[in-house]
Amino acid sequence: MRDRIGNLTIKIDPSWVDLAEEFRRKPFGGHTPALQELLAVMRSRPIEGRYFLWLSKPHSEWTLAKMSETRPLKPILVGPTFTSIEEAEWHVFKLRWEALTGQQLEIS
């Protein structure tokens, strides 16, 4: 479901830690339908203020960045810097989880 401005409106339940574990194990590739829904919500927020990765060294180092809240978009480097794209992806997942549930993801 989507609201009037196009945001997907699936409610994220902070108890769905199994989905977070699934994502951590395999950030890219096939996911269960439940995780697909969760990721669709995370990945379809408005572009303003959204996280992305700044290529700080060609295909070997990525720095967490955010789009500015207004257009034209400006990159805001917020860090940290990663040398693994999977780690960067997991870090963004955790930040979005917290933003959507209001709770930090407690996972070892």
Binding site: R2, L8, F28, H31, P33, R43, S44, F52
Partner: protein, 734 residues
């Protein structure tokens, strides 16, 4: 912040021919220029990807240069050269049909000869109202023009009496909520002073510059030699945009004429013709379109609207910084002008061909420059909301990607909306193109450098030809070669390009389609202007807000859309056609029984594995990004051998398969097996043959394990046989 950018006047140049480079530098006094031969892309660290390599070429202008910022003159308009009948307008009537898309963006010029305190014009004022402008004075109607609604608008000036009449009336076109005529009379209007500037439609002069760009459509603008009365204006509004020149016309521009060109024809006896600047969009439905026919060639009089955009850009018109006549002895291949300023780097690639009639290699890389043009400045990759969703990954961007945000006038690709929300239909290479480089995202040009890296590593004697050449020269561009192979994504094809490849195959040519989602969109080059393509989606792309009735190219008149829709599916030329896409992971291929057929023995020589390409620099496989499948229902030849099919694609590949109608596909991986890339081989009746891999990611596997792998072997086997002159025989029964 320092920014260096550039472009060239062409993408393809023969030895002995001239290429010109344009450079603009912002934020620094000097930059460094070096011409290099490109040998591989900037990609992942070893061991599986090639090292980034480029060789400096001896060139007289290699070295440091002083630079300056030349700016980008974005925004389209029509311009009629200064003529006394238009520069000295006093008593007159200005009239047109308009369909404004951003009436509230600030003052916009509809038409006029205004330049600072001089001249007069018809404008949308700062409050979104129709107004007469006389010098700095504004005489506005009390109501706003409505967005995306046709109105007849006019201003009649009586200079002797010092009066003016401003008039607007919405055009009735199926709607029930049309606003009727509104007029306002003004006294004490000063006499318009002469202007020395050209008459402009869609923008206003500020000395030589164009300012106050209008967003929206304009149809049948007229300048009449006397001040029309209210009832005369009413009659003109109801008469519509068609018909012969008005009896009082000083100028009467009929945009329904010369639709494929830059010409703006004045049908009055004064013949005050003009030209469009920066390619505003033509062949769009006008105020009188009745939704009965959908091809502008049949009823041009209902397609007499031109859509002007404040972000249209055809040619940046920067002065030539360097020109280079390609010296004898330079090998055919990929080259670039490398520009450096501070920490900023910019690449201007170009391709060198041998002199005409002097091709020596047996094979050629057909570089998909038409596709590069369609994607030029793919703004949605930075700004687009759905990018991350259908890529299945957090978006990765670098400084060069953000140049489009720092310099919005760089314009958009055919995947992006204009600033007013209408779709971009024209895309030019005569501007800096931020995604045409051997660095950054490994896609399009950058990925095609993998193929160059392999050709160099394998010491294959090759030459290059571009899509631009294939379109210009037809089959002659490739007929010297035994074998031609494509890049990773030859998605955009004109009729002439398809005809040329087909003629090449009928004459015994061999064709290796080493990519995915190829030959997909019908495309048009401009009939006279170099370096610009037109794409219309025919309502077939979820990103594109196509307008019904506007699915024929303005450049050629041909029906636009996918080649499937047009009636010439990619399967006919290469045996496979687009299946789906996904950019999160790539897969391997499983060989079929047909791969053991003696006809395919040469392909799999030295390849014992059942699974091939289950590795690669691009997301771990040779099959992925965008993939194609064999399907006789779309014209894949029945005698083709379906050699292998990919398997195990992720659910992200489900988005495109669903037609992007559902943003949350919910299939399990096992359900997705029908989505696949197919490797196909078939012979043609003239002794030729086709080999297709149906996957963009293929070339990303060539370099795996220091170029020692089954994808490399298969590609080399096919190329070796394809340059052998021994004719292929059609199989029995085919």
């Amino acid at each position: 912040m320092i920014a260096i950018m550039g472009y060239a006047d062409r993408r393809s140049v023969r030895v002995g021919e001239l290429i010109q480079f344009k450079v603009s530098l912002d934020g620094a006094p000097v930059y460094k220029a070096t011409v290099v031969r490109l040998l591989s892309p900037q990609t992942f660290p070893a061991p599986h990807a090639p090292e980034f390599r480029f060789d400096p070429m001896p060139c007289p202008f290699n070295g440091e240069h002083r630079g300056q910022n030349h700016g980008i003159p974005a925004g389209s308009y029509a311009e009629i050269p200064a003529h006394p009948k238009l520069t000295r307008l006093t008593t007159c009537t200005l009239a047109a049909f308009v369909w404004p898309t951003t009436p509230d963006k600030g003052e916009q010029a509809i038409m006029g000869n205004g330049d600072g305190p001089a001249g007069l014009g018809l404008v949308i004022d700062a409050e979104g109202r129709l107004a007469l402008a006389v010098g700095a004075h504004r005489y506005a109607l009390p109501r706003k023009l409505r967005q995306r609604r046709w109105s007849f608008v006019a201003a009649a000036v009586d200079a002797a009496a010092g009066t003016a009449l401003v008039y607007a009336r919405e055009v009735e076109l199926f709607q029930f909520d049309v606003l009727g005529p509104l007029q306002q009379h003004f006294d004490r209007v000063p006499r318009p002073t002469p202007s020395e500037r050209p008459f402009r439609i869609g923008a206003q002069s500020d000395r030589a510059r164009a300012i106050r760009h209008y967003n929206g459509k304009i149809e049948r603008p007229r300048v009449l030699g006397r001040a029309l009365t209210y009832s005369e204006l009413d009659r003109l509004a109801l008469a519509g945009p068609t018909g012969p020149a008005h009896i009082d016309a000083i100028a009467d521009w009929d945009f329904a004429r010369d639709i494929s060109s830059e010409v703006v024809r004045d049908v009055s006896p004064n013949a005050l013709w003009g030209t469009t600047v920066n390619l505003p969009t033509r062949a769009l439905i006008g105020s009188n379109w009745r939704a009965e026919r959908h091809d502008w060639r049949a009823i041009p009089e209902q397609y007499g609207a031109i859509h002007f955009h404040d972000d249209d850009i055809y040619d940046c018109l920067w002065p030539t910084a360097f020109e280079l006549t390609i010296p004898d002895g330079w090998k055919s291949g990929a080259y670039a002008l490398r520009l450096e300023a501070g920490e900023c780097e910019y690449w201007v690639p170009f391709f060198v061909r041998p002199k005409k009639g002097q091709a020596k290699a047996r094979c050629a890389f057909l570089v998909p420059t038409c596709t590069y043009a369609a994607y030029a400045n793919f703004r949605s990759r930075v700004e687009g909301r759905w990018n991350e969703l259908y890529h299945g990954r957090v978006t990765v961007l670098d400084r060069t990607d953000f140049l489009m945000e720092e310099y919005p006038d760089l314009g958009s690709s055919t995947y992006d909306p204009h600033s007013d929300g209408s779709m971009t239909l024209y895309s030019s290479m005569l501007r800096p193109v931020t995604n045409y480089r051997p660095t950054g995202r490994i896609y399009k040009f950058c990925q095609d450098m993998f193929l160059i890296a392999w050709l160099e590593h394998a010491k294959i004697d090759y030459e290059v030809v571009t899509d631009d050449d294939l379109h210009d020269e037809g089959v002659d561009a490739i007929s010297d070669y035994a074998c031609v192979f494509t890049g990773s994504h030859p998605e955009y094809y004109t009729t002439r390009m398809l005809d040329a490849v087909e003629a090449f195959l009928r004459d015994g040519g061999r064709f290796m389609y080493l990519g995915g989602n190829g030959f997909y969109w019908q495309t048009a080059y401009h009939p006279t202007l170099p370096g610009v393509v037109e794409v219309r989606r025919g309502g077939q792309l979820f990103l594109a807000s196509d307008v019904v009735g506007e699915s024929n190219f303005s450049f050629t008149g041909e029906m636009a859309g996918s080649w499937n829709r047009v009636g010439r599916p990619p399967n006919l030329i290469c045996g496979v056609g687009f299946d789906t896409q996904g950019f999160d992971t790539c897969a391997g291929y499983r060989r079929s029984q047909a791969s053991r057929d003696p006809r395919a023995a040469f392909i799999f020589e030295g390849v014992d594995e059942e699974i091939v390409g289950d590795f690669g620099v691009l997301m771990g496989g040779a099959a992925g990004y965008e993939i194609d499948r064999y399907d006789v229902n779309f014209g894949s030849p029945r005698h083709a051998l379906l050699l292998a099919s990919s398997y195990g694609h992720s659910n992200i590949y489900d988005f495109a398969a669903l037609g992007f109608t559902d943003l949350v596909p919910k299939l399990n991986e096992g359900d997705l097996d029908p989505l696949r890339a197919d490797i196909v081989f078939f012979e043609t009746p003239g002794g030729g043959a086709v080999f297709s891999v149906g996957s963009i990611a293929w070339s990303g596997s060539l370099s795996w394990n220091n170029f020692d792998n089954n994808i490399e072997r298969i590609t080399r086997n096919v190329l070796k046989r394809f340059i052998d002159p021994t004719p292929f025989q059609m199989p029995d029964g085919a």
